[in-house]
């Protein structure tokens, strides 16, 4: 039985919790992300399990990639296996949701129509299971990678279709879902990799091309070998807003400033200035050629203009967070907005809408206002040096990036602006690198 030593970094952010797993060579072999919640311990456990599952999947992938006899079938097989694996995980969570919904329906107030309610819940979840395959097929464009987001969208749509104001109301179905999704969010699946990868393998082979089917035995044995590999987590470092809650000793906890600096350096070694706009704080960080932080500035106690502000705006507009940027990008006439106060976000938005201003123009103004705040912080931290790396959840927002690009050019001239598709993992990556260094130092 083989053994794999890994180092893990966990970033407990105010909005999402992330984990990154590194192998001895410092390569990322697993990642996990989940919505943060009031219980940081659960968020930590969920994200760790997911990262370890992905680590095992990486192992499977590598085993197959390094086997020359499987070269011809590797690509179609692996992509189908991954989709099926994700689908299996999704279905697993749906099963958990079904159970939690029925449990929530046990409350006395539903007794009178319990049977009908149970039947309707089953019908909804059955349809969600059918829809699940669609989220993970080859051409699927998922709006989110979070189970919670996908499940909420599907459930709400189905509940609206099936509810009946004279019978089981939409409100009843919503209350049940609110209770159940919390349970699902706070439950962990344990080490179910073997079970899920076997199921995924079964369905992948069943629908595979004859060429792949010919190699079924070799593929099965490659998958099985990774199931039996022992994964040893030799070093772990935690960071982020909730880091004090991590069940680690103090020396295994690093400030997110250091982690973001090192993470940005690892992603883009030319980085000298990093900007991280997270859920509750914004950080402007200067790093040296080794990724060591030389100075930084953070927003003060007011979280105006941080990621959470965009969250409120999205809620007010009844949009997904990921939809804000693309909508703002459609603006042709940006509106000037000065305040980025999260508390007044809703009022400001409603006022402007009532003046007849267009949503995309308001959004473009809001994004620029956020970036203007970040620019002030960057100036306080000593300016924007070349290269400049933008990290954190807000770096995934196209309108924020557009505003940043133009303001940096205006204020500091041409700068290389780095944004990684995986920027949300920057802090966790930095933490994992600190863990790896610790492991090397201990060795």
């Amino acid at each position: 039985m083989s053994e794999l030593q890994i180092c893990m970094g966990i970033d407990l952010g105010s909005t999402t919790t992330k984990a990154v797993v590194l192998n001895d060579a410092g390569e990322v072999i697993g990642r996990g992300i989940t919505n943060s919640r009031s219980n940081y311990d659960v968020a930590c456990q969920v994200v760790r399990e997911e990262a370890l599952m992905r680590t095992r999947f990486s192992l499977t992938r590598r085993t197959i990639q390094f086997d020359p006899t499987l070269a011809a079938v590797e690509k179609p097989f692996l992509s189908a296996l991954e989709r099926n694996f994700r689908l299996c995980q999704h279905l697993d969570r749906l099963a958990c949701l079904r159970q939690a919904l029925h449990h929530a329906a046990e409350e006395p107030r539903y007794h009178a129509y319990r049977r009908e309610l149970d039947a309707m819940l089953d019908e909804i979840v059955d349809t969600m299971v059918e829809l699940g395959a669609g989220h993970f097929n080859e051409l699927a464009v998922r709006k989110s990678d979070f189970f919670r987001d996908l499940a909420t969208a599907d459930y709400m749509q189905l509940a609206e279709q099936r509810s009946d104001p004279g019978g089981i109301s939409f409100d009843t179905l919503c209350s049940l879902f609110d209770a159940a999704i919390l349970v699902v969010d706070n439950s962990t699946s344990g080490d179910s990799f073997t079970e899920q990868i076997r199921a995924a393998l079964g369905s992948t082979l069943e629908h595979a091309t004859p060429a792949v089917k010919l190699k079924a035995e070799e593929l099965r044995s490659a998958v099985e070998s990774t199931c039996s590999t022992t994964i040893l987590e030799v070093a772990t470092v935690g960071t982020g807003y909730g880091r004090q809650r991590l069940p680690f000793p103090k020396e295994q906890i690093r400030s997110e400033i250091l982690c973001h600096g090192l993470g940005a350096h690892a992603m883009f070694p030319g980085t000298r200035t990093a900007l991280d706009i997270g859920g509750q704080d914004t950080k402007a960080i200067q790093v040296d050629a080794d990724g060591l932080v030389v100075s930084f500035q953070m927003n003060d106690r007011c979280a105006a203009g941080c990621g959470r502000y965009l969250g409120y705006i999205a809620d007010e507009m009844k949009l997904g967070l990921h939809e804000l940027g693309p909508l703002a990008d459609q603006s042709h006439s940006r509106i000037k907005i000065n305040s980025t106060c999260t508390v007044f976000a809703g009022a400001e938005l409603r006022e402007r809408l009532s003046l007849g201003q267009r949503r995309e123009d308001i959004l473009a103004g809001l994004h620029r206002a956020i970036i203007l705040r970040a620019m002030s912080l960057l100036a306080r931290a000593g300016g924007v040096k070349d290269e400049f790396t933008f990290t954190g959840g807000v770096a995934r927002n196209s309108a924020a990036v557009k505003a940043l690009r133009s303001l940096v050019k205006e204020n500091y001239g041409e700068r290389v602006l780095n944004i990684s598709a995986d920027s949300i993992y920057t802090g966790a990556l930095g933490a994992a690198l600190f863990a790896l260094r610790k492991k090397e130092a201990d060795a």
């Binding site: 400030s255 400033i257 260094r437 090397e440």
Partner: protein
């Protein structure tokens, strides 16, 4: 200051003799203030930087220092209500929170830190050194109390040093404006011999204060020169300069610190003495008072000890050589007023901090930028950059307020302190940290 490190901590925390002594002295002072109207003693309100305690004492006048009352209210969690009260009376959110705390306290009955009513002033002695808000503050108090005001204008040290005409200008004001008003209010004649005697006692206590502050050059430092330092400057910066009690206090303090140096002990804090001095820091800017103990613990938890601070120089830069000189009583008071920290220009402040970092072998420096204190905060970001350049030592920047509890975000401040110290650690250890 009546609140002591020991008071902030559980009862089993050890209290040194000097702490008990200071507590008694200040309780006596507030008690004397409370009884002043009945006993016919006259009271002068004045500010800490550039205070003329020896001169006031020579006229048997009792000083009240509004900043001290405000910081005491902050430590006792009363300032939030006082500030809200002042805001109800129309004072904006951006006004200095010492001012608002003082106005709010006044509007709510002027009950001082010990629970006794503070007497109304018989004179407002406005000596403003480096803080022009002082002038507006006393304008407000002037509207509340029907009493005379004596103005003492202290010129800003724009050239980075005290010039003879500065001293002449202040001495002239002392002779023509301040002393006549003190004579009028007290009904006594100016007694220069008495003033000289008081100044002699001041200089004696100042020697011991400087010795205590400079003991932080030892490794480990036996004192915390910021959180502990604010207690050490208490008697000197308030009502006890030039008094025999002041002299006794500083002798006692010095003996205790000498003892800690002999034993190789670190500073006494409300949490105890840190196991190890991991970081030696210089701090620029006043502390936050509303969460003082929590703020101090953030340093203590990381083994960070402050070895020198600029805040402990707001009432005079004794460690740079200044002593009250009985031979030239009015000139020495003038020089004292001119030399207060907030009366210095940015280059002088920078040079002082640079020397502290060097002389006290500091690993780093932190600026606590106070939202409502323009005198301190203006230019601090520039100071940060220039100090980093001139010393090669990285600086940290945190933001809080004097006594407005709404401006203290513990998570944010802690995050910045920890990040900064980890940055220092990383720098120390190189890339393998």
């Amino acid at each position: 200051m009546t609140t002591q490190p020991g008071d902030l901590a559980p009862a089993d925390v050890s209290k040194e003799q000097s702490m008990l002594l200071q507590k008694e002295m200040i309780a006596r002072h507030y008690s004397a203030l409370a009884r002043a109207p009945q006993q016919g003693r006259k009271v002068v309100y004045t500010f800490v930087p550039g205070n003329l305690t020896e001169l006031l004492r020579s006229f048997e006048l009792l000083p009240v220092l509004p900043e001290i009352n405000a910081l005491q209210a902050g430590m006792r969690k009363l300032s939030g209500d006082y500030i809200t009260e002042a805001e109800k009376h129309g004072h904006s959110e951006d006004v200095c929170t010492y001012v608002k705390c003082d106005i709010g306290m006044l509007k709510k009955g002027n009950i001082g830190p010990t629970g006794e009513r503070l007497p109304s002033p018989d004179l407002l002695l406005l000596s403003y050194t480096g803080c022009f808000t002082f002038m507006k503050w006393f304008e407000l108090l002037r509207q509340e109390y029907d009493c005379p005001v004596a103005m003492l204008h202290v010129p800003y040290q724009a050239e980075g040093r005290i010039l003879p005409h500065h001293v002449e200008y202040i001495v002239k004001q002392l002779r023509t404006e301040v002393i006549p008003k003190l004579e009028q209010v007290s009904g006594r004649r100016y007694d220069e011999d008495r003033l000289r005697e008081s100044l002699r006692l001041s200089a004696q206590a100042e020697d011991d204060l400087v010795w205590t502050l400079e003991a932080a050059k030892n490794i480990p430092s036996p004192i915390d020169a910021y959180f502990g330092g604010v207690y050490y400057i208490g008697p000197m910066f308030t009502a006890f300069r030039g008094t025999p009690e002041g002299v006794t206090y500083y002798q006692t303090l010095r003996n205790e610190v000498e003892d800690r140096v002999r034993k190789g002990l670190g500073p006494l804090t409300p949490e105890g003495t840190p196991e190890k001095e991991r970081y030696r820091l210089v701090v620029e800017g006043p502390p936050n008072w509303t969460n003082f103990r929590e703020f101090w613990k953030m340093f203590y938890d990381e083994g960070a000890v402050v070895v020198a601070s600029s805040y402990t120089k707001v009432g005079g830069l004794y460690d740079r050589g200044f002593r009250h000189d009985p031979a030239h009583p009015l000139e020495t008071l003038a020089e004292y007023c001119l030399g207060c920290y907030t009366n210095l220009g940015l280059p002088t402040r920078l040079e002082l901090l640079r020397q502290y970092i060097h002389d006290y072998r500091a690993d780093g420096f932190i600026i606590n930028s106070i939202k409502s204190c323009n005198s301190f905060s203006v230019g601090q970001l520039l100071m940060l950059r220039q100090l980093e350049q001139s010393t090669g030592v990285p600086g940290g920047f945190i933001e809080s307020d004097l006594v407005d509890p709404r401006y203290f975000s513990a998570a944010n401040v802690k995050n910045r302190i920890e990040s900064y110290l980890q940055m220092l650690e990383q720098k120390r250890a190189g890339a393998t940290a």
